[in-house]
Symmetry: C2
Subunit: 285 residues, 2 copies
């Protein structure tokens, strides 16, 4: 039983809550509130893996890189997550994370693996070479008029700008130029609003649905196999963002042989680049 957060906590904090078994070993519960089609939202799994690292008593610094591998669908019920520091340098630390569940036969199986790098960030020269695209402010964009059927989608305030999920699955070829053919842009924040932290930022890097849906206007089985996030934000940038909207943008470079990539950039409303990510998505047909 996970008792790390009371029942009146934000749904996100309930979903990523981990009860320590020992240092670096925690029990959590697959979140119904962030349920997707055949398991929890991949973003909440990424956030939970990162949470295990951040809660570790030996953790050094802030997250700078995170890779999450979705090895098997997480089932309803409890899981155990283990975070180990494999290497600690003067200013950086390398983490390995495993999430285990029991399958129907009672055998322990690995459902998720992750690696993370945490580091002490220093004041250095910097530049944002990916300015936020010019889009209408979130206050000027209508929220969707329909309630999402998928549970995790209701956990976000999403205001789609470009590349919404197709409403008609007509299979028509896109006439957009290739760099725009799979592009989505969306204003997003937690519902209800919640001050941004590392775990929430990690989850929001996975808000973008599989690009193959948009590109083909056709429903095909698809799911994330692996996701990597590089964090550009420091604690100051998170605090400056507060519970404000983030602008997210995603597209694919290419689709071939059952897999496509999907890169994303996330800014706060002031235009600070917070994170970039790249994921590999499996698709059929």
């Amino acid at each position: 039983m996970n008792t790390a957060h009371p029942a009146d906590a934000h749904p996100f904090d309930q979903a990523i809550a981990l009860a320590p078994i020992e240092a670096g070993r925690y029990e959590g519960q697959a979140s119904d509130a962030y349920w997707n089609a055949v398991g929890p939202f991949g973003g909440i799994t990424a956030a939970t893996a990162l949470h295990a690292v951040l809660q570790h008593p030996d953790r050094l610094g802030q997250p700078v890189a995170l890779t999450v591998n979705y090895a098997a669908a997480v089932q309803r019920g409890p899981f155990v997550v283990t975070a180990r520091a494999l290497r600690t340098n003067r200013a950086s630390q390398h983490w390995s994370v495993e999430m285990m569940q029991h399958d129907a036969s009672g055998a322990a199986i690995v459902v998720t693996t992750a690696s993370a790098v945490t580091a002490l960030r220093r004041a250095t020269w910097g530049a944002n070479d990916t300015p936020m695209p010019q889009v209408p402010p979130s206050a000027a964009v209508e929220p969707p008029s329909w309630a999402a059927r998928i549970a995790w989608v209701r956990r976000y305030q999403l205001q789609q700008l470009d590349g919404p999920m197709p409403r008609e699955w007509d299979g028509l070829a896109s006439d957009a130029p290739p760099e725009l053919a799979s592009l989505s842009r969306v204003w997003m924040r937690d519902a209800p609003p919640r001050p941004l932290d590392w775990c929430a930022l990690a989850a929001m890097c996975d808000v973008f649905y599989p690009r193959v849906f948009l590109r083909r206007r056709r429903r095909v089985p698809a799911g994330t196999v692996s996701m990597t996030i590089h964090f550009h934000a420091d604690e100051t940038a998170l605090r400056a963002t507060g519970d404000g909207h983030l602008l997210g943008q995603a597209r694919a470079h290419g689709f071939a042989g059952g897999f496509h990539d999907q890169i994303a950039q996330v800014w706060n409303a002031a235009g600070t680049l917070l994170a970039t990510s790249s994921q590999l998505v499996y698709y059929k047909e």
Copy 2:
């Protein structure tokens, strides 16, 4: 002593050679031929980690994703690399790799960790939404007139198109628009030429020097912390490429607090997208 490849093999095959200790556990030698400043070229380390997976007798399918974390500088001498399949699905497999060395005190330390996903690729709909940029063919580009001082650079035929390494470290600010300020394009292949395979492709995703050098025209300490590669090529695309040149392109999205990202795309000369990658680079000042 690593006896997996004879001394007259291609330098790349010598560098990534692994002598089996038992299934999934191998001994290798840090490669002088691919030496960088304070350790081997990160690309050869990535190729070696992938090689451990590909040599495993239980391996299923082709690599689709690889993340390599550079935990500590690899020292000269032997290392032991272990590849474990943590999860095998019907059509995909999740791998964990660790590379260990003994430090000066004789203690075993983790120098590199990696995760990989291999999968059976199926014939599906596909699209290349990142056409190869229009550049002069490799035959029309002069090779550099100088011999590189860094060993690993001499292991590649590199014909730089845009964004060469600065020759003068004058610290002048770039007047290029942000999306071009850290952009490099280069024709590349092994020296001497060698038919492309997964390991060689993984290594070539790391050929691009740290973007902070180009962006600032200033030498600062910098090094890759973590690199993720998503493979778009299948075996057919590799065979079609043979020992021909690849076109590589890299840029950074942003620089902040001692870290920048660096994304890259790699095509063969026929314009087939072979791989995309994203890495996180540490820099000082």
